[in-house]
């Protein structure tokens, strides 16, 4: 919780409150408590208004909430998890062209806070993809994602990377053609790296306004997904693809996302690891899915123990 400052009531407020107390006969203690309940949130709201656009690094539920980083703090954050040796700060190294502004943007893209007072953005996010802070749900490829962890894991915004730091020849080839490195399970599009095949698939589409489409078939496809032979283009929601192979891949990934969202009801981790390189600790081996999906984390290591949850 951010620190709260209590400001004293104005004279007019006190007079008004006093009048009400006389009229209603409330006890002094009850009215005092009510004053505090009114004043504190109003103050908090004013603070929130100023600070709500700051990117916040949130803790997992149950974990202590870290301080929201401000631009000036980002470069000076020190220490780490309580009780452990502080991380060395000597490792800072500036990558070319990247600074605090990039970092702030990165955090903003991953802002998945919930704010019941915010406006619902689901209509926009359903088309463009993103997180609705009012409803606490994410959207990707037109699919509603009611899990923040799953939404984050999908890595929809991708990553910057430094080409000189990429030491895999296959990855470097993939960078040049917006392709995918099957060995390391990374996709590249427009010089950004994506660690989930779904995000990579979506990134290769072009976001368009369905209303701007002249073709009736394409407008229909924008609502229901599909390929138009006339225009030689496919729509996955508002994402337009000019290649049938890329479109087909995006459709397959979209279907996997649908299956993943269904799996949330049984096990959130199982739903998440469908798109990452982890293994659900409670349900090993992973539930079956597309055989081409790599990264299940349960590779053929010698003597792997297989456990299943009760």
């Amino acid at each position: 919780m951010p620190a709260q400052v209590v400001r004293p009531l104005t004279a007019a407020q006190r007079k008004t409150m006093s009048g009400r107390r006389r009229a209603t006969g409330r006890s002094r203690g009850a009215v005092g408590a009510c004053r505090a309940l009114i004043a504190l949130p109003l103050l908090a709201l004013s603070i929130l208004t100023c600070c709500s656009r700051e990117p916040v690094t949130e803790a997992r539920p149950g974990e202590p909430l870290p301080t929201a980083p401000e631009p000036a703090m980002l470069a000076s954050l020190g220490g780490d998890h309580a009780g452990n040796r502080p991380m060395s700060e000597s490792a800072s190294s500036a990558a070319p062209g990247l600074g605090d502004a990039e970092q702030i943007a990165h955090l903003a893209l991953h802002d998945i806070s919930i704010d019941p007072l915010a406006q619902c953005a689901c209509a926009d996010m359903r088309q463009a993809g993103g997180w609705c802070r009012r409803c606490g749900v994410g959207w990707l490829a037109g699919i509603r994602i009611p899990s923040a962890d799953l939404y984050i894991a999908l890595d929809s915004h991708g990553h910057q990377f430094v080409t000189l730091s990429v030491d895999c020849p296959s990855c470097l080839d993939a960078v040049s053609v917006d392709g995918h490195c099957d060995e390391h399970h990374r996709g590249f599009a427009s010089h950004r790296m994506y660690t989930s095949t779904l995000a990579w698939a979506v990134a290769r589409g072009r976001l368009i306004e369905p209303g701007s489409l002249n073709c009736d078939r394409c407008r229909t496809n924008a609502a229901r997904c599909g390929w138009c032979d006339t225009c030689a283009a496919g729509q996955v929601g508002s994402l337009r693809f000019g290649s049938i192979d890329v479109f087909s891949h995006a459709m397959r990934e979209r279907e996997r996302l649908v299956e993943s969202v269904r799996t949330l009801a049984q096990c959130e981790m199982c739903a998440i690891v469908m798109f990452t390189d982890a293994t659900c600790p409670r349900h090993r081996p992973l539930p079956s899915d597309d055989a081409t999906r790599t990264g299940r984390g349960d590779g053929p290591s010698a003597g792997v123990k297989v456990t299943t949850s009760p």
Binding site: T24, R26, L37, I38, L40, P41, L42, L45, L48, T57, E58, R60, P61, E63, L65, A75, G79, D80, H81, N84, R85, M87, S88, A91, S93, A95, L98, E102, Q103, H110, I112, I114, P116, L117, G136, A148, I152, A153, H159, Q160, F161, V162, T163, S165, D167, H184, H185, M193, T195, M269, D277, A278, T279, P281, G297, D298, G299, P300, S301, V304
Partner: protein, 228 residues
């Protein structure tokens, strides 16, 4: 009265607007290496940023877990920006940290944090390294081969911390296991016999009296066999 009550309830709404949710970022860290000695007192887990991404700094709140034993550690902030490309994070036990020359861990974990007989160590929900019984020779560790699905290979340990400090450690499973074979056997006996006599600082001087003699031989014989 009613209006005051309504105002009280309305005033609570802004407080309810602030809610902690999931953490963000830190996608490309991977479980890169795991090591454990024969009794689990000296262990380390090394994470590595896999992909040359410089801003994977959203590690605050990320958990490193054992499939068999549960939570190992919750990571904190890295305290830097543009600093993560191909970097490492080292989690290790205090006994590891106490080894002369060992790189200082970034996090101290409990002994036997993961199951040495076989386990799966996971970074958040991004990467799991599954492995069988950890090499108990005190030298070798499991290294992720960098592939997907993850496979491991056995090689000499090479723990590296975030600052880039690295060193290879050698932990004998028994004081008489002078060749780090994971047990006391003929080769250790031959080593001892070869050093017989005054031999200050010799590894075969098991009691540290400056000489390899009968007492050292008896200690070796008492530990004969594979380490538990």
């Amino acid at each position: 009265m009613r209006s005051s009550r309504i105002m009280c309830l309305a005033g609570l709404a802004p407080i309810a607007a602030i809610t902690a949710t999931a953490w963000a970022g830190g996608h490309t860290w991977r479980v890169n290496e795991v090591f454990g000695n024969n009794d689990g007192t000296i262990m380390f887990i090394e994470l590595k940023e896999c992909c040359g991404s410089p801003n994977e700094i959203g590690t605050s709140g990320a958990q490193v877990t054992s499939a068999d034993l549960g939570l190992i550690e919750t990571l904190g902030s890295l305290g830097c920006t543009n600093c993560t490309a191909n970097k490492h994070i080292l989690l290790a036990t205090q006994a590891f940290a106490d080894l002369p020359g060992a790189p200082a861990p970034d996090y101290i974990i409990s002994p036997n944090a993961f199951d040495r007989t076989g386990d799966g160590v996971t970074y958040s929900f991004y990467h799991t390294l599954n492995f069988g019984p950890v090499p108990s020779d005190g030298v070798n560790s499991f290294h992720w081969n960098g592939d997907v699905p993850a496979t491991v290979s056995i090689a000499a340990n090479s723990p590296t911390n975030f600052a880039g400090d690295t060193a290879s450690i050698a932990v004998r499973c028994h004081v008489a296991d002078t060749d780090f074979s994971g047990g006391v056997d003929v080769s250790d006996l031959l080593n001892l016999l070869a050093d017989w006599g005054p031999c200050g600082g010799c590894a075969t001087d098991l009691d540290g009296n400056g000489s390899v003699d009968v007492s050292d031989l008896l200690a070796l014989l008492a530990g004969w066999g594979p380490c538990p």
